[in-house]
């Protein structure tokens, strides 16, 4: 912040206020990594998705690179909700945490959400969009009826703000409308794209899990369009997610109506990427002679 030109970077997602519009996305930040995050530029971080019981995850290889993209099939490996909460308890954080809820049944989503609500998360993000699990995940998230049911049941057991992370496949706007009716407070648009790469020598998929989820710069224009479509059709706040690597990427989402943006793959590539993105946004606001980020949110003209 420089002299008289004090920039206001705070954003609101419904009733929730964040210090900055940048949020670390689910899956790329582990509580047990022992890495210190650049907390000054972060509004929040979403934890890895947790399920009721431990999940072993998918067989390796779990990672494969594509043109400007990252294909993964982790399969929601996590220690189960009790062990996870033990990690949360010992985690020294200097930024707000959002808990990510997973499950293989509607009932499991609700049980996990209820348990997470006992802890100091500022919101819960319901993951109905993981492409790498057989039950739950995309199977729930691409069907408006099931998606709505999940959110309705989770809504009953928690008073925390409820974000729903959507899958980019299927009729995204219909699912967005459905989960909004089900009681979601905000929508995250969107998770990875179901995708595939094949090793031509072996004539087999590169990933141990077969198919994977594609993230990174390769998918940014796709998710940006989806975010705009959802913004135009649904009243609750939307959060951009997909391929944010630079300040300009984040600004595209914000200008299209995102209340905040999530950083996923960029954080895996570079631990300092949030700082770079944050500085990019500040420089832009200064060049636009804007005093606050609110002045640029949802200002796209078609």
């Amino acid at each position: 912040m420089e002299g008289r030109n004090r920039l206001d970077l705070t954003v609101s997602i419904g009733s929730l206020k964040l210090k900055t519009p940048l949020i670390i996305a689910s899956g790329v930040f582990s509580l047990d990594s022992e890495e210190k995050l650049e907390s000054n530029c972060l509004g929040a971080a979403v934890t890895k998705t947790v399920t009721w019981n431990e999940k072993k995850g998918n067989p390796p290889p779990r990672i494969c690179e594509t043109y400007s993209g990252l294909l993964n099939s982790i399969g929601l490996q996590n220690p189960g909700v009790s062990n996870f909460l033990a990690q949360v308890n010992t985690f020294k954080k200097d930024f707000p945490l959002v808990g990510s809820v997973g499950g293989e049944s509607i009932e499991e989503y609700a049980r996990v959400a209820e348990k997470l609500s006992e802890f100091k998360f500022i919101a819960l993000e319901v993951n109905i969009s993981c492409p790498n699990v057989k039950e739950g995940g995309v199977a729930f998230g691409k069907d408006p009826k099931t998606a709505k049911k999940v959110v309705k049941e989770v809504r009953k057991v928690t008073s925390l703000p409820l974000w729903v992370k959507l899958t980019p496949i299927g009729d995204v706007v219909r699912v967005a409308e459905a989960v909004s009716e089900g009681g979601a407070d905000a929508l995250v648009v969107a998770n990875t794209h179901p995708a595939l790469r094949v090793d031509v020598k072996e004539k087999k998929p590169f990933l141990g899990g077969g198919y994977g989820g594609l993230s990174g710069p390769a998918i940014k224009p796709l998710n940006l369009r989806l975010l705009r479509l959802v913004k135009e059709n649904v009243d609750i706040p939307v959060i951009g997610c997909g391929g944010v690597f630079t300040g300009e990427d984040a600004l595209e989402y914000l200008i299209c109506g995102a209340s905040a943006v999530q950083i996923g793959t960029a954080f895996l590539v570079d631990s300092r990427s949030p700082v770079r993105i944050f500085n990019g946004i500040k420089e832009y606001l200064q060049s636009e002679r804007a005093n606050s980020i609110q002045e640029i949110i949802d200002t796209v003209r078609f």
Binding site: G27, V28, F29, S30, D32, S33, E34, E35, K48, E54, K56, G57, P59, P60, P61, R62, I63, C64, E65, Y67, S68, G69, L70, N72, I74, Q77, G216, P217, F245, T265, F267, L268, V269, D270, S271, R272
Partner: protein, 245 residues
């Protein structure tokens, strides 16, 4: 620690294999044998991910890695000139535990480079060591006399001459009776080394990584207790920790 490191030199040491020396004072000070760094050679998104490389040697402000050209990143790396710079992050992972001063090092292919720093460490302690090194063809052979302490005994095995490094394992063990084996190389080789020696075995394993920092759980290996991260719980494991399928 993330640092922009200046390239000191980058030269061919064998067919398709290069030695990269960079100035990275913080990493050089912290690193121990078997640990690795993540290298990103430019800010573009293709290649997107940084790549993991074991530190092959560290001294003063310098660290060295030895790499084989296998893909886009390593191909671009082979063109680096002194004065260029790369982005280095690390050191990461759990390296070798020097538990004895009588050891056998078993290296397969460019994997032998991951044993080099360890070898110098053992040498410094006055330990006795034997190096068993296997390659496919003579042209691929790294210059051991230049890379490893000259005093240690070495056995080189060439596949093109009809032998596998593991064929000489038993004779090396009985001739030399080591307390511990340190190995790095292809999975098949590591499996055989694990099964043929009853003493202590430490294995440096490789897996495709995304972050290298313990976040993504992308680089896992199967253990009796489930999948664990190569970047954090490894890359060096005790034989008993790995569940070979």
């Amino acid at each position: 620690m993330r640092e922009r490191a200046e390239v000191i030199e980058n030269f061919k040491v064998a067919r398709n294999q290069f030695l990269l020396a960079v100035k990275a004072p913080h990493i050089s000070k912290e690193v121990s044998p078997g640990q690795f760094v993540m290298i990103k050679i430019n800010e573009t998104t293709d290649p997107l991910l940084p790549r993991p490389f074991t530190i092959s040697f560290a001294s003063g402000e310098e660290v060295e890695i030895i790499y084989k050209v296998v893909g886009k990143t390593t191909s671009l790396m082979s063109n680096l000139k002194s004065g260029n710079s790369v982005i280095l992050e690390g050191p990461f992972g759990k390296g070798f535990e020097v538990v004895s001063d009588r050891c056998l090092l078993v290296g397969g292919g460019v994997g032998v480079a991951s044993l080099r720093f360890l070898s110098w460490e053992v040498h410094k302690r006055g330990g006795v060591q034997f190096l068993l090194y296997g390659e496919r063809e003579r042209e691929n052979l790294l210059p051991l006399h230049y890379l490893f302490p000259s005093e240690i005994k070495k056995k080189v095995v060439l596949e093109e001459e009809g032998n596998l490094v593991t064929d000489f394992l038993i004779s090396c063990i009985s001739e030399y009776s080591p307390d511990v084996i340190y190995a790095c190389g292809p999975k098949e080789m590591l499996k055989v080394v694990s099964s043929k020696f009853l003493g202590k075995v430490q294995l440096a394993v490789e897996e495709v990584m995304a972050c290298g920092r313990g976040h993504c759980y992308g680089c896992v290996i199967k253990t009796p207790g489930g999948y664990v991260r190569v970047c954090r719980e490894g890359p060096v494991f005790w034989r008993e920790e790995i569940d070979w399928i």
